[in-house]
C-alpha cells in the first residue's frame, strides 16, 4: 500500500510569546517543529504500513529548511521524504497550497491513502486537507479518530463530530485528516534517527510539477491579507480571597448575571 502523509513545519507555539512593550510576536529562538496534528498523521501512516505493508512517503511544501521536518518524519518511520520548495510558491493561500501539494502527489507513482493533520497550528484553517482531496478528485473523511478496518480497496473509519462520531466507509484512494485521539505517536528510534541522518530527500521545484504557473503562489491565491494586528491582550482581573465559603458567596454574587 502506498501511503502519503502531508506535513507542515510550523513555529513551536510553546515558544510563541508576546513582547509586553511592543505587543508583537517574539520570534527569536522560536524553534520550528512538525505541526502537532501532523505527528498523529505520521504515526497513523506508519501503523497502516505495519498492518498492511507498503511504503510511507512524507511530503511538505515550504522553505528549504522544511527539509528538517521531513528528516524528522523519516526518523519516526516514514520511508521517503519529498520537499516541494520554490520562491514561486511564496504567498500561497490554502487554495494554491492544496493545488501545489495535489500536483506533487500526482507526480508520485500511485497512492492509496493520504493522511494529514486536521489543521496546522499556525494557520488553523483545516482547509488544505479537503483542498488536496478535491483537486485530486478523491473521497475524503475529515477529523478521523480511528481507522477501524483498512485493506487495499476500502477503509472503515470513525469521524469525530461535535456530539460523538460517525462511522464511515470509503473506497481507496481516500484522504483522511486526523485528530489527536487517533493514536499516541511513538518516539523516534535510534535506528530511525540514523536513517533520517543519511536519508536523501527528493526536492521538487515548480518546474518539476505539471502545474499551471498562474495557479501557484500569490498569483494563484484568491485571498489576500490586508491588515495584521495584535488583539488587545486580555488583562488579569480581580482576585478574590477568603475561606472556601466566603469566596463562593462573593463569586456567586459577581456571576449572578452570567448564570441565570
Amino acid at each position: 500500500m502506498n501511503i502519503i502523509v502531508c506535513i507542515k513545519q510550523v513555529p513551536n507555539t510553546t515558544d510563541v510569546r508576546i513582547d509586553p512593550v511592543t505587543n508583537t510576536l517574539i520570534r527569536d529562538g522560536v524553534e520550528s517543529v512538525i505541526n502537532p496534528f501532523d505527528a498523529y498523521a505520521i504515526e497513523e501512516a506508519v501503523r497502516i504500513k505495519e498492518r498492511c505493508g507498503g511504503k510511507v512517503t512524507a511530503i511538505t511544501m515550504g522553505p528549504p529548511q522544511a527539509e528538517n521536518a521531513l528528516k524528522e518524519a523519516i526518523g519516526l518511520g516514514c520511508d521517503e521524504g519529498v520537499l516541494v520548495s520554490d520562491r514561486k510558491f511564496a504567498g500561497s493561500d490554502t487554495w494554491a497550497t492544496s493545488y501545489t501539494l495535489a500536483c506533487a502527489i500526482e507526480k508520485l507513482e500511485t497512492y492509496d491513502v493520504i493522511l494529514t493533520g486536521k489543521q496546522a497550528s499556525d494557520g488553523d484553517t483545516a482547509q488544505v486537507g479537503p483542498g488536496i482531496s478535491t483537486h485530486l478528485d478523491i473521497p475524503q473523511v475529515t477529523y478521523v479518530k480511528k481507522i477501524v478496518e483498512i485493506n487495499d480497496k476500502a477503509a472503515k473509519v470513525e469521524r469525530m463530530t461535535e456530539e460523538g462520531y460517525d462511522v464511515v466507509e470509503t473506497p481507496l484512494p481516500c484522504l483522511f485528516t486526523v485528530v489527536k485521539e487517533i493514536n499516541t505517536p511513538r518516539m523516534p528510534s535510534l535506528k530511525g534517527m540514523m536513517r533520517a541522518k543519511s536519508a536523501k530527500i527528493t526536492k521538487w521545484t515548480a518546474a518539476d510539477l505539471d502545474a499551471d504557473p498562474a495557479a501557484l503562489g500569490l498569483d494563484g491565491s484568491p485571498t489576500r491579507v490586508v491588515k495584521i494586528f495584535t488583539p488587545e491582550a486580555r488583562k488579569g482581573g480581580e482576585m478574590i480571597s477568603g475561606s472556601a465559603g466566603e469566596v463562593s458567596k462573593e463569586l456567586a454574587e459577581l456571576l449572578k448575571g452570567e448564570v441565570v
Binding site: T94, Q140, K145, R224, E258
Partner: protein, 399 residues
Amino acid sequence: MASIKVHLEKCTGCTLCVKACAFGAIHMSDRKAVIDMAKCTLCGSCVAACKFSAIEIEKAGGPKKDLSAYKDVWVFCEQKKGVIQSISFELLGEGRKLADKLGVKLCAVLLGHGMEDAAEALGERGADKVYLVDHPALKSYQDDPYTAVMVKLVEEFKPEVILCGASTIGRSLISRVAIKTNAGLTADCTGLDIDAKERLLLQTRPAFGGNIMATIIAPNHRPQMATVRHKVMQPAPVQPGRAAEIISKAYPEETFASRTRLLDIVEELTSTVNISEADIIVAGGRGMGSKENFALLEELAKVLGGAVGASRSAVDADWIPYSHQVGQTGKTVVPKLYIACGISGQIQHLIGMQSSKTIVAINKDPDAQIFKVATYGIVGDVNEIVPALTKEFKRVLNK
C-alpha cells in the same frame, strides 16, 4: 510571478514592518527595510503595517474580472437529524447586517430530507429566500453529495458572499466548494464587515493561536467564502410571521452519489452537554488531582447547566474523554462563563478559551498563568472551593 519590493525613497526606517513580519524576514540596513526573500512568504503583513506605502507586492494575477453577476449573501444552514444547528442562526444574524450593507438579499441554503417546515421557519430568522434541496442522500452530511449540490447552486445563482459555520461539517464542505468554484475562503472568522465601495467582505480571523489577528479579502474572486466561529456572532432574532420565498431545487440522481457511506452516527452520552454549544463550561486540569476529584466538576456544571471541559493533562491522565478537551489540540470554545479549576494556563490551553466572556480561575499557585487572563481569580484548593461553589450556586439558583 508575484514579487515584493521596498520603495527606498519612502522608507523612513521606522521598523513597523520588522515588527509586523511573523516570519522574521525583514531587517534594517542603513535605516532602510531589507526583505530576506528566503524567508518572505508574501503574506502582506508588512504592506499592511507600513504607514508610508513603502512596501509593495506586485501580483501577476490576470485582469480584473467582471464580478457584477454575483449577488446576495448566502448562509449555509447546517442541520443534524433534521434540526437546524444554532450556528446557522448566528450566521443569519451576521448575514443580515452584511446583506443590508451590500443592499442585497439574505438567502439561506438548506440541504436535507423532509425539511420543508424548517425551511419556512428560516424566514422568521431573517432570510429573504431559502434555497431548499430535498433528497434522502442529504439527510445526513456526506462530503460528495453536499459538495455537488452546493457547487450547482453556486454556479446557477451566483452569490456574492457565502457564510458557513466553522464546524466539522462546515469546514469540510466549504473547503471543497471553494476549490471547485475557484473561490477565496477564509477560515474561522471572528469578525466580518463590508467594504461597500469595492463590495468586499472584510474577514477578520485569529492566527498563531490568537496571538495575532488578520483581515483577509478576496478581491478578484466570487463568491467570497468564510467559515465563522461558533458563538461569536449574535443569533438572528425570531420575527414571528415573517416569511421567506422558498426555492426548491431538484437535480439529476447522479448529483447525489456518494463515494463514502455513512454506516452509523454515534452520540457519546456523557453526563454533560457538548462543550462547543455550552454557554457555561466548568473545566479542570491536572490540579484536580484525581479522577474522583474531577467528578466534582460535573456536579458544579450540572447545577450551572453547563458542560465539563478539560485541559490536555486531564485528558492524558484519562480522567475524561478527549471530546471534552479545550485548547490547541482540542476544541476552541467561546462560552459566556469559563471556570478553570486546577488549570495552570499553558499557552496551548489559553488559545482554546481566552475569548470566553468571563473567566474564573481557581488554582493553588498564585503565579499560575491562568490568572493573567481571568476576570476573577481565586487562590486556593479546588477540592474545597468547587464543592463550596456547587453548594452556593444550588442555594442561589434554588436548585
